[in-house]
């Protein structure tokens, strides 16, 4: 802070600690991912598959109890190249934050894309998870280091449109 600021400003940090709870649906997902499995949940009404699951289908307002094993590959629904640092995150920009849509899932989640030149990344590109060594696995989606291209033909993004069952 410069002198001028010091006259009328001071920093007063607020620190609060919380025990974060993931929820029982997400807990089951995390327990599976600790073993290298990706488990989504299916809506009994519209058939949508959610991953990571929160325990509900907001489309229908019902619990999603049926669990579905999902593969660790899918496509890039969309993405951005981030050129600025994230507060509190050591990751070096530029990096790619992508919406990953696993095959068989009806929503995407954010993850990193690596092992490809930034300018070659496309919407619809097929990608596969790159896992950390098994010894480092915990109950976290961070067990996947990032996703990398598979080299398969891109999918048509229109085919990602959800059709209720």
């Amino acid at each position: 802070m410069d002198k001028e600021q010091e006259k009328d400003y001071f920093e007063s940090l607020i620190s609060l600690e919380y025990n974060f709870t993931a929820g029982s649906a997400t807990t089951r997902f995390l327990e599976a991912i600790a073993k290298g499995n990706i488990v989504g949940q299916k809506c009994p009404k519209c058939g949508a598959v959610y991953v990571p699951p929160r325990g509900s289908c907001p489309r229908d307002g019902v619990p999603t109890l049926e669990e579905i094993q999902l593969p660790d590959y899918g496509c890039i629904e969309s993405f951005t190249v981030v050129h600025i640092p994230i507060p509190g995150n050591p990751i070096e920009p530029p990096f790619v934050s992508a919406m990953i849509r696993l095959d068989g899932a009806n929503i995407s989640f954010l993850h990193l894309i690596q092992e490809i030149a930034l300018e070659d990344i496309r919407i619809g590109m097929r990608v596969k998870a790159v896992w950390k060594p098994e010894t480092e696995w915990t109950t976290s989606l961070e067990n996947i280091k990032w996703f990398k291209p598979t080299g398969e033909v891109d999918i048509n993004p229109e085919s990602l449109k959800f059709i209720s069952s």
Partner: protein, 351 residues
């Protein structure tokens, strides 16, 4: 003016720690239950309003997560107050009066167990003049209790009476937390949290959620619902400056009672949002009823879900009227240090 009634209310069993349940898992059961009891579906609801507080969960936009518990396709008319859900009820009431909706769903949820509630609530205070002194919510409640003792309108006996009554009434409330019912001697020896308040005088840290449905008279007829009418409802806030207030009074409540022009002696059931024993005493005096009579559910001393406890006071009052054990009821919700902000709802059954 069109008549609006409460047609259903549901509450989770209150827990000191709801464990791993997330927002969705807290809210969904109460929403489903209240729909079930009214034979309505989510598509009958044309306005939804919730009450919650980001700081309890420790994340910005925590309420957005909660919305995943509700059917939102096709998109719904929905709003959120960063307040107790009693005020979400008030918002819904105005929406219905304005003709925007016929049937509204209200829900409130709070999970206080993950953080240090006393520390968190201190963030409500004036950040320039009061918060730096770090009083927590129990300190401020103690300040109010002491003012009452000094003014000769509160005794330890009365505080004890409020705790015993809450503990006793809580036994008949299946959703209540079981609390200690200390003997008089045990109470006097109780660990002081903030003089004169002992741990017995404070409501337990609680996790839970509640939901309510209100509807117009037309909708009640159409869907065969049995309403308890919201005859009068209003709210008012007091000064934030504690030194500017008479802490032995609750001006907003007195002002609202004056506006309502109701005969207090004719009210069958009163539920108040009183988080400390001295608040029970204070409100029972304002409502002109005995300490044993107020809060037949046990009140917040046997379960105090932040952001839902005010709605619960209204819900418990509704239940008594719905099962015809009472004809008229008065419910009170509060927010802010030392009962700064208050809401009153006067409920009535058709005779």
């Amino acid at each position: 003016m069109k008549r609006i009634g409460i047609v259903g209310y549901s509450q989770n069993k209150i827990k000191r720690d709801a464990g791993s349940a997330n927002e969705v898992e807290l809210i969904m059961p109460v929403v489903h239950k209240v729909l079930e009891t009214t034979n309505l579906t989510q598509s009958h609801i044309d306005f939804t309003c919730s009450g919650s507080c980001d700081y309890l969960q420790g994340a910005a936009f925590a309420f957005v997560e909660g919305l995943n518990a509700i059917q939102t396709y096709p998109p719904i008319k929905e709003s959120h107050v960063e307040m107790d859900a009693a005020w979400a009820l008030y918002e819904s009431y105005l929406r219905i009066l304005s003709g925007e909706a016929e049937i509204a769903l209200v829900y409130g949820f709070g999970k206080s167990s993950p953080g240090n509630l006393d520390q968190i609530m201190s963030l409500q205070l004036d950040p320039y003049y009061v918060a730096p002194l770090s009083p927590d919510r129990v300190n401020l409640a103690g300040l109010q209790a002491n003012s009452m003792i000094k003014a000769g309108i509160l005794t330890r006996e009365e505080m004890y009476l409020a705790i015993s009554a809450a503990s006793r009434n809580g036994l008949n409330n299946p959703n209540a937390i079981k609390i200690d019912n200390p003997s008089w001697d045990e109470y006097l020896m109780g660990e002081i949290v903030s003089s004169p308040l002992t741990k017995f005088d404070c409501s337990p840290v609680s996790d839970g959620a509640s939901a309510m449905i209100i509807a117009t008279e037309d909708a009640c007829e159409k869907f065969n619902l049995s309403p308890v009418w919201i005859d009068k409802i209003g709210h008012q806030v007091d000064s934030a400056n504690l030194g500017f207030r008479d802490l032995t009074q609750v001006k907003p409540v007195s002002d609202l009672l004056e506006k309502f022009k109701i005969d207090l002696s004719s009210i069958d059931v009163i539920e108040s949002h009183t988080q400390f024993s001295h608040e029970v005493v204070l409100l029972s005096k304002i409502f002109n009823c005995s300490i044993e009579e107020i809060n037949p559910s046990g009140g917040p001393l046997v379960g105090n879900v932040m952001m839902a406890a005010g709605l619960d006071a209204i819900g418990h009052t509704f239940e008594k009227l719905q099962n015809h054990s009472a004809k008229t009821g008065l419910a009170h919700a509060a927010s802010g240090p030392c009962l700064q902000q208050n809401l009153l709802a006067y409920l009535r059954c058709d005779s």
